[in-house]
């Protein structure tokens, strides 16, 4: 009995979370999707390394850091674009996007240099 209650509670919790998330604006959802994509790619590379070993270690690091860095930058973009955040109220989203693009280009220059 207790178990079914727990699962019900959990279901209820997920449901409420899902409904709360549904109200999020689409552009933030796209960013979330992008972050997820980056993180999953990073995880796949980590798994690959765990299986075959870390021989071209710099290549592995570049791959993972590329994904993680992109994800972090995307999170930053999300913070700045979110209208709920009063802190960045005066900052136009286009400016935030320009920052995001610039940071990504610099990050990948370094990544490419490190890739070997």
């Amino acid at each position: 009995m207790g178990r079914s209650t727990t699962s019900k509670d959990a279901q209820a919790l997920f449901h409420s979370l899902h409904s709360a998330y549904a109200s999020t604006p689409t552009n933030l959802k796209i960013i979330d999707l992008y972050v997820m994509f980056a993180v999953v790619t990073a995880v796949i590379q980590v798994v690959y390394m765990a299986i075959v070993g870390s021989f071209p270690f710099n290549s592995f690091l570049s791959g993972v850091l590329s994904c993680v860095g992109t994800a972090v930058l995307a999170v930053c973009l999300r913070i700045q674009v979110n209208k709920e955040n009063k802190e960045f109220k005066d900052l136009p989203p286009e400016r935030a996007f320009a920052d995001f693009v610039l940071c990504n280009l610099v990050l990948h220059l370094v990544i490419m240099n490190f890739l070997g």
């Binding site: 689409t26 959802k29 796209i30 999707l33 992008y34 997820m36 994509f37 980056a38 999953v40 790619t41 796949i44 590379q45 798994v47 690959y48 299986i51 075959v52 070993g53 021989f55 136009p92 989203p93 286009e94 400016r95 996007f97 320009a98 693009v101 280009l105 990948h108 220059l109 490419m112 240099n113 890739l115």
Partner: protein, 691 residues
């Protein structure tokens, strides 16, 4: 082996340097072949007229017939030079000299034409060389044609003006405004004055000739002398143009002197040893390396040979090594400098100096003349001559007393001689002695003329004794230059001992107790090698006697280590050891299929992302509608794509500097279009908000 050879070489060099006497050989075929090499013909001539004259004159003296192949072109040059009114006095002189040898076809008109030019030149002459070329030219004309009468009317005046250039010490100046005196100039002046004397229409004042003779004697007083009796005239002024050294100066002086004596027909009292010293100087040069030197040498020797002063005779030996075992006879040849036969004479062996000791033995033995080969032979060597190095002293005795005025024998001639022979080696034995009692443990006889293979063994309490006797064919004790005993350990460490002589016997005793340290406490097998050698010993040997098994005590801790053996010098040039490269093992690579699977897996989230975009109904509605902003938006995206493509190239092949340069331009473009696009978007959204 190499070390022993080194000893021998050093010994030979020492012997060679100790002997002060030197052998002078007359001119031979080696000079002839050298002349043919040095005076080389290019384009049908020997070069300038001066070089041509030198070549032709040298060939003439040496008796080489080589006129035909250069005659045509040289004669053409001679005719040109003599016919041309603009040619210099020196060139005229050289052309006449060449003509004197080649006898080109010149008509008397040409001779008359240049004769008047030369006579004008004599009147204007200031320097010694002006006089030399003009007087020399007149002399040559006189010799070459009988049709033209050549006379000097004012010979006394010319004689005096040349004489005015002479110096107190017998040397001369080239011109009155040049204060430096030169021996070369003295030779030139003598030759010129000889020409003046023979061209003079009336006889020259006797007092002038007498003063000139006095000058010549003074010049000969200043002659330089070598230890071996060779004399030469030193030349202080070395001028690169005139090529004046001792050789050319001496040669020109000899030339001038003989010309003067011939012209003046007077007698000149010059010491015979200086004349033969000069001959020795010219012969002592050997075969010179340059054409100019060869010319000077040969011409001077030719002058000496035909001179009226005195003809030097040269004593030479066909062989300076006489073998007692072959019963060689001492042969002496006497020639003139150019190698022609000498007048009737006999050669006397006066003294013999034994090298190493100062005392000389007086022999006074006359050599027997072999009339067929014109060689003087000493049939049996004097009794006290044994194997060894000697210096023989000879004297030449002319039969005809009249000849003593004509020929210069140069006094005594000393010649270094080696008398070699087979040395007998007797009573050779090797023994091991007991150290305390001195009693003989093992004793073996050695045959040093044959093979030996003794096998001995000893310990550090014993001694090794080697002894032998050396006697010359005449039964006297012989002391060789080198007598070494060498012990060579298996490891290559060598020890060399000098075998000393005591009275008749050569003996060495090695006390191993005192030698253990020197032997580095190395026990084991030592090869025994004996070297006995001398330049006059025909049977010098280096022989392996056998081996010695040494048993030495163990080395204490502080004992010296044997030195590392030197590497054989030739091994440097041998093949080097092959170099094998050791590479690091390649890293383990994952299986290919697994990597491809994960490549696919990495792409999966991307498809998920695209699918998510569709699920969220993402769209491009915000894309600007009008043309200009759309273009900028497209350019912005294309710019980002270009930067990423550049990164790909950076990864694949470009270097960082090229990449950053391109990135700089792309970045500026991207900033511009990005700013336009994003500001357009911002203004659109601001309009929406305000609306």
């Amino acid at each position: 082996m190499t070390r022993n050879l080194g000893f021998l070489v050093v010994a030979l060099v020492l012997v060679a340097s100790l002997c002060e006497a030197k052998i002078f050989n007359p001119i031979s075929d080696s000079h002839r072949s050298a002349a043919l090499q040095l005076f080389s013909v290019s384009d049908g001539s020997f070069g300038s007229l001066e070089e041509t004259y030198e070549a032709l004159r040298t060939f003439e003296v040496l008796g080489i017939e080589k006129k035909a192949d250069t005659r045509a072109s040289t004669c053409a040059t001679v005719v040109d030079t003599i016919g041309s009114p603009s040619s210099a006095l020196k060139d005229l002189f050289q052309a006449l000299r060449v003509n004197g040898i080649l006898k080109c076809e010149l008509n008397d008109e040409a001779f008359k034409g240049i004769m008047s030019r030369i006579k004008d030149a004599i009147n204007d002459a200031h320097s010694l060389l002006d006089y030399y070329y003009s007087i020399g030219g007149l002399m040559l004309i006189k010799d070459q044609t009988s049709e033209v009468a050549v006379h000097l009317g004012d010979a006394d005046r010319i004689f005096r003006s040349i004489k005015a250039l002479s110096q107190g010490d017998g040397r001369w100046r080239f011109s009155s405004n040049n204060p430096e005196s030169s021996t070369y100039a003295a030779g030139v002046a003598l030759e010129t004055l000889a020409g003046v004397v023979s061209l003079a229409s009336s006889e020259i004042d006797h007092s002038l000739i007498a003063t000139l003779k006095n000058d010549i004697v003074k010049l000969f007083d200043g002659i330089e002398k070598y230890d071996d009796g060779a004399c030469y005239f030193d030349e202080k002024i070395i001028d690169a143009h005139m090529h004046q050294g001792s050789l050319s100066a001496s040669s020109v002086v000899v030339h001038g002197l003989t010309a003067f004596v011939t012209a003046a027909r007077g007698s000149l009292n010059l010491p015979g040893d200086k004349i033969s010293g000069l001959a020795k100087f010219f012969l002592g040069i050997g075969v010179p390396g340059s054409a100019k030197d060869l010319y000077h040498q040969i011409v001077a020797l030719a002058c000496l040979e035909n001179s009226r002063v005195s003809v030097p005779l040269i004593l030479s030996l066909p062989a300076t090594v006489l073998s007692v075992s072959r019963k060689d006879q001492l042969k002496v040849r006497v020639n003139t400098v150019l190698g022609s036969a000498a007048p009737p004479l006999s050669v006397k062996l006066v003294q013999i100096f034994s090298s190493g000791s100062k005392d000389a033995s007086v022999i006074d033995q006359e050599l027997k003349l072999d009339p067929e080969s014109a060689v003087h032979v000493l049939e049996t060597l004097p009794k006290n001559v044994d194997v060894g190095k000697y210096i023989f002293s000879f004297e030449i005795l002319l039969h005809d007393p009249e000849h003593k005025k004509i020929y210069a024998t140069g006094g005594r001639t000393t010649v270094p001689l080696y008398v070699t022979g087979v040395i007998s080696v007797d009573h050779a034995e090797i023994a091991i002695l007991d150290s305390d009692l001195g009693s003989v443990e093992i004793q073996k006889k050695l045959d040093l003329s044959g093979e030996n293979a003794v096998a001995l063994s000893a310990n550090h309490l014993q001694k090794l004794r080697l002894s032998f006797q050396l006697t010359t064919p005449f039964g006297r004790t012989f002391k060789p230059h080198q007598a070494f005993l060498k012990l060579r350990h298996e490891s290559g460490v060598e020890h060399i001992f000098v075998v000393g002589s005591s009275g008749k016997k050569f003996e060495i005793v090695l006390d191993f107790l005192g030698l253990v340290e020197k032997f580095f406490y190395l026990s084991g097998r030592y090869d025994i090698q004996l070297t006995v050698g001398d330049t006059v010993m025909e049977n010098s040997f280096l022989q392996l006697l056998g081996y010695l098994e040494l048993d030495l005590p163990d080395a204490p801790e502080k004992a010296a280590r044997p030195p590392p053996q030197p590497v054989h010098p030739y091994s440097r040039y041998g093949p080097k050891a092959e170099i094998t490269h050791i590479f690091r093992a390649p890293e383990k690579r994952p299986p290919r299929d697994l990597s491809f699977v994960f490549l696919g897996l990495v792409l999966l989230p991307f498809f998920g992302f695209v699918a998510g975009l569709f699920y969220l109904r993402a769209n491009l509605r915000n894309l600007p509608k009008s043309t200009v902003p759309v273009t900028f938006a497209m350019l912005f995206h294309l710019g980002i794509a270009a930067v990423l493509l550049l990164y790909t190239f950076f990864w694949l092949k470009l270097d960082l500097f090229t990449t950053l340069k391109a990135l700089g331009f792309l970045g500026m473009f991207l900033t511009f279009v990005g700013h336009r696009t994003l500001s357009h978007l911002a203004s659109t959204s601001a309009k929406l908000k305000s609306a």
